[in-house]
Amino acid sequence: MLSARDLTKSFSTSEGPLQVLRGISVDVTSGESVALTGESGSGKSTLLHLLGCLDAPDSGTITLKGTALQDLDEAGRAMVRRSRVSVIFQQLNLIPSLTVAQNLDFQARLAGVLDRDWQHELADRLGLTPLLARYPEQLSGGQQQRVAIGRSLAIRPELVLADEPTGNLDEATADTVLDLLIEGTARSGSALLMVTHSPRLAARLDRTLHLQDGLVQ
């Protein structure tokens, strides 16, 4: 379903260009869950951003169900982010000025795929029903991440990319959030690629990719 080949990416810094990805290749099949691990600076987040159309590679190809993502312009990448790939960050996923209910259905409405029944089911399963009228600032970190998961699954994306979604949470909350993420992606038929530092959490996914110095080991 997702195939990335020979991806490179560098950033300019005050000390000169910094090569973060050095020709990385990754494949993810439909419904599969993959953990992405590695030291800080190994390129995990950068890879996730390229796969999620949040950034463009310097070279290499990314194909999502036949669509060559590297050839898309900004509008095309925005379209992919809106309707095919969901990204969950470690924090600040939510739009502060919207309520939980509005945040939950925001992406689905942008993509024009709002399914009220699915929305209610997600809210129920994520335990968000009593919180729908609240604003993000009135939620705990775990509650905020549950809203982010609900929002990302609302469009039934082909791929969910999660960048340390439990990094700010305590262990118990992290487990709960991960349970919900795994169960949710399975129910929506989405593949999951999750960046994590935790071997314990990585072990709960189908397989693990370890990055080092911009390459898969």
């Binding site: 950034d55 509008a75 925005a78 379209m79 739009i95 509005q102 925001f106 942008l110 960048d163 990094g167």
Partner: protein, 796 residues
């Protein structure tokens, strides 16, 4: 230690240069507008004092008579031993010059004349062929004029020429003196004046009459300056507040490292002081430029309104510069007080997480709303029961500050309502986001509200005034031709000449009296349809004109009715033994004094010696040009002796338009400052908006759409602010027309509405807001994706 700590604090500004520039420019603008207005006021007052002080006229008693003093009256008094000096005063309308004719040998000491005394050749020329002593700027203006030669005398007031009395009489084409100045030192044993002349002795008032007359105008100007200053301070407070909020962590660290709270506060105060002094210096320069640019307009206004001559060029006064620096320091202190107070109350272990300073809490908005309600109530009470000019201005201040404080809560309510009607996720986000931005943008929006309300208010006042004035002129100037003659003989000859050739020749004559301790003018009018059909009466008894014709009643002007609280039917004693009831009240815009109208016969009975030198002529309008040519040829009348109706109307409207030039300029400047406040707030906010914008971008909204949404949000807030500014502006106009005008000038104007003007203003506000948001939006949406992604990174 102080230096190290100060360096640490100051490093913030090195890294936030735009913020520092905003702060300096905001304070400089506020200082400039305030001190510019003060400079204009000071220059005008200096001119009044110079004008009042010419020939010691502000100190010496004078003898005068209606219609002027004859040479024989003057000679009789000199022969009786009185040390008096003749003065003839008049205007040369062609050159727009006040001409003052004096006898240099008997005139009170005057620097310009003293110079003549030491130069016998110059004195001989002055007395012989004659020349005019004028100020340098007047000399420049008169270049190419066919008046007698000019000589520069720095002490002569602007717009005035001093010359020998013989030259003045010749130029003014008159044979009468205006008045006689009585020297303080007189010989012993002289016959008292009241036994040897029927001329009236007049003692000068303590303050120059011009200064008194123009007080209201200068108060208006000061109020505008204060409004601009307040609008500028909004920018300053916003910038200081943000800088302090961004440095909360630094403050905490400095205190943790052993800097006492007192020392920290002192260092922050010094930092503010340094910024205020730099801004003040920039403000002085800017203020001088603004004042110099506005002064010619103010001079035109004062000339038009009060006949006051004010120099058109600005002199630099070190005291003014010092006071401008003082106001900059005061402004910085006022704007920084809240921020300093918060630092003083901040616990040592306060969370260092920066929170946008301007994000006022719900509690703050509730407090603001409470204060707004209290101020608006106070404004209402002052409008209803205030009884002075100061109360009028206090009412204005309470109204404007109250409305500004109420703005955030009103915007929140309106946005909540708007939210109910939005469809689609992006428009829902836009409205919800706008609601969240209201506290952060409230200071800039308040500044915009004040500027827009001032524009609507002053625009409505000026528009109402102009429309009323035009209608009033049409009524008052019903006659086709107005003639001013020089002598009773000439008046009689012209009247005889005109009577068979025109429909009516109506005398215009008046007597100066003192009524209830104040000067007043009584006009005598003939019983003619011209008055019955046209005169603008505000209230009248049904038979008012009949009673006036029979000598059984008097009409009074509105300002007199208001000042003396006179109503229809109230008896009024015009002179000893002459008491008449008030039978009508008429509008009399532009006249600062009390005025009355009595029947011609009644006035002639009580003032038999009064001269009638002016006439209004009713004739076929088509005949008027020929009539003017005939009259000029037959009687050798000077240019300004004959005025047709259209000429007077055009002149009056020209004066009127001049009067409000400065208000217009200050309006534009205030709107400009408010636009700048918007720009600075939006620029500041753009860096704080990443957490709001980044998730929306990450969810697949293209940068172009985000830019449009950002622009739409600013447009929405500006439009709502404009919609709220219109009623505030109308309330402001009502207070100006019904309270301030009545207190300042004694007349009340009917308010008229100009919706077209509001729409234009709304359009301008929208354009200004969009222009102000263009750069911040462009900066935001052209951020590399990497910068937006940093919002989500763990190290944030």
């Amino acid at each position: 230690m102080n230096a190290v700590a100060f360096q640490a604090l100051w490093s913030h500004w090195r890294r936030h240069k735009v913020q520092l520039a905003t702060l300096v420019l905001g304070l400089a603008l506020a200082t400039a507008l305030w001190s510019g207005v003060q400079a204009i006021n000071a220059e005008a007052r200096k001119s009044y004092d110079r004008a009042a002080g010419v020939l010691g006229q502000d100190q010496l008693d004078r003898l005068e008579a209606p219609g002027g003093v004859t040479l024989s009256q003057y000679i009789a008094l000199r022969r009786a031993g009185w040390d008096i000096s003749p003065v003839v005063e008049g205007r040369l309308s062609g050159d727009d010059l006040r001409l003052l004719g004096v006898d240099p040998l008997s005139a009170p000491p005057q620097p310009a004349l003293t110079a003549l005394a030491g130069d016998s050749a110059a004195l001989a020329t002055f007395l012989g062929d004659g020349f005019l002593l004028v100020a340098p700027e007047t000399a420049a203006r008169l270049q190419g004029s066919d008046l007698p030669p000019r000589r520069i005398a720095a002490d002569v007031p602007p717009g005035t020429a001093i010359t020998d009395i013989g030259t003045a009489l010749r130029l003014l084409r008159t044979d009468r003196l205006s008045h006689l100045l009585i020297r303080r030192q007189q010989a012993m044993g002289l016959t008292p004046l009241d036994q040897i002349t029927d001329l009236k002795r007049v003692t000068p008032t303590d303050q120059s009459s011009l200064a008194q007359l123009t007080d209201s105008f200068h108060l208006n100007l000061t109020a505008f300056g204060l409004l601009s200053f307040a609008v500028g301070l909004f920018i300053v407070q916003s910038a200081i507040g943000l800088a302090f909020e961004q440095r909360r962590a630094a403050f905490r660290t400095l205190r943790a490292l052993g800097i006492s709270l007192r020392r920290l506060m002192a260092l922050l105060a010094v930092e503010l002081g340094v910024i205020a002094l730099v801004s003040g210096a920039a403000g002085i320069l800017l203020g001088y430029i603004i004042a110099a640019a506005l002064l010619p307009g103010v001079a035109g206004t004062l000339r038009g309104l009060y006949g006051a001559e004010v120099t058109g060029t600005l002199s630099f006064d070190p005291l003014w510069a010092l006071s401008a620096l003082g106001i900059a320091l005061l402004g910085a202190a006022a704007a920084g007080a809240q921020a300093l107070w918060r630092v003083a109350r901040m616990p040592l272990l306060a969370p260092a997480q920066p929170r946008a300073w301007a994000m006022a809490s719900g509690r703050m908005i509730r407090m603001q709303t409470g204060a707004a309600i209290a101020l608006l109530l106070l404004s209402g009470l002052l409008a209803l029961w205030g009884d002075s000019l100061m109360a009028g201005f206090a009412c204005l201040a309470a109204l404007l500050i109250g409305a500004a404080l109420a703005l955030p809560v009103l915007l929140l309510v309106l946005l909540r309502l708007a939210g109910r009607f939005t469809r689609g996720p992006l428009s829902e986000w836009l409205v919800a986001d706008a609601r969240q931005q209201v506290p952060a943008l409230s200071l800039a929006l308040m500044a915009l509200l004040l500027a827009l309300a001032a524009n609507v208010g002053v625009g409505t006042m000026v528009g109402s005034f102009r429309a009323t004035f035009v209608g009033w002129l049409d009524q008052r100037l019903a006659s086709e031709l107005y003639i001013t003659t020089r002598t009773p003989a000439e008046a009689e000859a012209i009247r005889t000449y005109l009577t068979p050739r025109t429909d009516a020749v109506l005398p215009i004559w008046s007597v100066a009296i003192t009524l209830r301790g104040a000067p007043a003018q009584v006009y005598g009018v003939a019983d003619d349809p011209t008055y019955r059909d046209h005169w603008p009466l505000l209230q009248a008894q049904p038979d008012a004109w009949d009673r006036l014709a029979q000598g059984d009643g008097v009409l009074i002007n509105e300002q007199m009715a208001r000042r003396d609280e006179l109503s229809l039917g109230d008896p009024l004693t015009l002179s000893e033994g002459w008491q008449l009831p008030v039978v009508g009240v008429y509008s009399d815009y532009g006249n600062p004094q009390a005025q009355l109208i009595a029947g011609t016969d009644a006035l002639a009975t009580h003032y038999p010696d009064q001269l009638v030198l002016r006439f209004a002529v009713r004739a076929d309008a088509a005949q008027v040009p020929a009539l003017i040519t005939d009259l000029t040829a037959c009687f050798d009348l000077p240019d300004d002796a004959l005025r047709n109706q259209a000429e007077i109307k055009a002149l009056s409207l020209d004066i009127f338009d001049q009067t409000f030039l400065v208000s217009g300029a200050l309006n534009v400047l205030t709107l400009g400052v408010a636009g700048f406040a918007m720009l600075t707030s939006l620029l500041t906010l753009s860096s704080l908006r990443l957490p709001q914008v980044a998730p929306v971008w990450a969810l697949g909204v293209a940068p172009r759409q985000i830019a449009l949404a950002e622009l739409a949000r600013t447009a929405l807030l500006a439009t709502l602010t404009w919609a709220l500014a219109v009623p505030v502006g109308l309330a402001l106009a009502w207070v100006l027309l019904a309270v301030v005008n009545v207190q300042a000038f004694g007349w009340r104007l009917p308010m008229q509405l100009f919706p077209g003007g509001w729409l234009w203003l709304g359009l301008w506000a929208l354009v200004a807001a969009l222009l102000a948001s263009a750069w911040p939006v462009w900066r935001l949406v052209t951020l590399p994706g990497g910068q937006l992604l940093r919002v989500f990174a763990n190290d944030r």
